[in-house]
Amino acid sequence: MLLEVIDLAVDLPTPQGLRRVVHDVSFSLDAGESLGIVGESGSGKTMTALALMALLPDGAIVSGALRFLGRDLVGLPEAEMRKLRGDQIAMIFQEPMTALNPIQRVGRQVAEPLRLHRGMDKAAAWAEAVRLLERVRLREPERAAKAYPFALSGGERQRAMIAMALACAPKLLIADEPTTALDVTVQARILDLIAALSAQSAMATLLVSHDLAVVARNCRNVLILYGGTVMESGPAEAVLSDARHPYTKALLDARPRANAPRGERLRAIAGSAAPAGANPQGCPFAGRCPLTLDACRVTPLPTVALEGGRRVRCLRVGADGRLT
């Protein structure tokens, strides 16, 4: 097992004290596998990803276990963690516009992990950076390496970010909304690129997205996050075609469909997304969920294991996966 996350919890400092934004999240990921974490903004999906990198905001407290190649990353000394970041675990971010240093040439930024982790000299790292830019199918990689980020388009910058992440051939790639800021046509190409690259090198991918369609297309497994808690998980195909959790169903219903009858209104999920950490005892979806019982607010969430490795966490779902 490449990565095993067991009962991960994250507490963030706020002016009112610590607030739990991620609740007992568990999942695992094998080499070459892909997992999609889906949730609305504030669902804790980005915090989960940042916890893996140990790049949470100052003062954040992580509990549970994050086993990467058998080693627990929780409480790992910063110096050890630094050796993993950018080498074994790499991450790409949502905003390719701002995620690159505006005053450094792209090539130098792509080369930086190589100089850091592989000890390459400037010339070798630059040559390798150009090869990487070529690998992410940037046109004229030499020119792109010499360019400053502002001279590249959004899609080109995201390719450069991917090249940077791939520099040291990481075992795990975390992609946090990698295509949200891009044009729709560019989105698909970037996602295909990530899929192709991970297939080439047996790199595992953790794709964080608010977009079910993106995850459905690119990930074998899916984790539905709400209010910092896993609502439902399992193989992406099964979960999305036959959702069992009321939240997953609501999320699927809220999705615009290309083949929807004309005039059908987009259904939004009623109410606004609960901030992570709401209903500390019960289900975070309680109240917004059409099936809410009084018990939902106060009863700790049960985990119902279904066939095919699926799990649902809902008081209203019985052992057979049907609503009670």
Binding site: L55, R82, R85, F93, A99, I103, M161, M164
Partner: protein, 316 residues
């Protein structure tokens, strides 16, 4: 880059023209003339008129401005009324004191500000940050000439580590000269450092919140390496810009501090010339300070463009 430099140079030339006009105008165009001021209230109209003629004050303003400006461009700064000698060499002699003083003070200010600001930004919100910011708040409040007096009391009078004033002249060797300049440079530099440390910190704190800082950390860079390699170069543009502006303030402060230490620099020349009612010398000195400030800001613009490629391509 060359196009940008040329464009900035044109702005520089235009600013210089405006500056010369303002400096000349303030002294020359407004009521009373230098002859009256020189001769004082007891002078008869005839003697004033005679002196005015001798000084060329009866010519039209535009002509006088032309003489002054074209003379200055060709290196002729005119004659000092009080010293009876050409102003150019007079100023050059004083610059031998003032220029190194300003350079030392700015070096002290920049060093302290960068160290303090970077440290505070790294410690953002923690005790070290608050301590540096509190110290800079105190530094902001201290008049530089008073700091100069206190430094004299401590280091010259009490501990006898440095001279209390005066300047031995460069023929006496570099050591004694630097010793004579160190206290004034500290007095000038520390106060500017207080301002610049705040600027450095806030520019850095803003940069540290940028996405590319997280990218740098995700590559495996340490906090320190991220700060120095990615955050500081990006924060340098605003820091350098403010440093350029504060340099003007430093030069003005030098006028006062030179008087505390009885240094034969430009500042002392200005104050003496005011006492001597030697308007042309004051004009030339103030203009020289303006030129220096404008030139420094031009260099700052170029430095910023060298750091930030976006500045080089953006049309203004």
């Amino acid at each position: 880059m060359l196009g940008y430099a040329l464009q900035r140079f044109l702005v520089l030339a235009a600013t210089l023209a405006v500056a010369s006009f303002v400096v000349f105008g303030v002294i020359e165009i407004l009521p009373g003339n230098a002859a009256e001021t020189i001769l004082g209230a007891s002078a008869t109209p005839e003697t004033v008129a005679a002196l005015a003629h001798k000084l060329g004050l009866d010519q039209p303003f535009a002509l006088r401005y032309w003489h002054w400006a074209s003379g200055a461009l060709s290196g002729d700064l005119g004659l000092s009324y009080a010293y009876g000698s050409p102003i150019g060499p007079l100023i050059a002699e004083r610059l031998a004191v003032s220029a190194p003083l300003a350079a030392m003070a700015m070096a002290i200010a920049a060093t302290l500000a960068l160290l303090g600001g970077v440290y505070a930004a790294g410690q953002r919100g923690k005790t070290g940050d608050v301590a540096v910011m509190a110290a800079s708040q105190v530094g902001l409040a201290i008049p530089n000439f008073w700091l100069a007096l206190v430094l004299v009391l401590i280091f010259a009078v009490h501990w006898r580590l440095a001279p209390a004033g005066g300047f031995p002249g460069w023929s006496a060797g570099i050591g004694p000269c630097l010793a004579a300049l160190i206290l004034p440079a500290i007095a000038l530099g520390v106060v500017q450092a207080a301002v610049l440390a705040r600027v450095t910190r806030s520019a850095l704190v803003e940069t540290l919140n940028e996405d590319f800082i997280r990218t740098a950390r995700a590559k495996g860079l340490s906090r320190g390496a991220t700060l120095w390699r990615h955050a500081l170069p990006n924060a340098m543009t605003p820091i350098l810009t403010i440093m350029g502006l504060r340099f003007a303030d430093l030069l003005a402060g030098a006028i006062v501090v030179e008087n505390v230490f009885v240094l034969p620099g430009l500042g002392r020349l200005i104050v003496q010339s005011i006492g001597n009612r030697d308007a042309l010398v004051v004009e030339d000195c103030v203009m020289l300070i303006a030129v220096t400030v404008i030139a420094i800001n031009f260099l700052v613009d170029l430095a910023c463009a060298a750091i930030d490629p976006r500045l080089r391509t953006r049309e203004t």
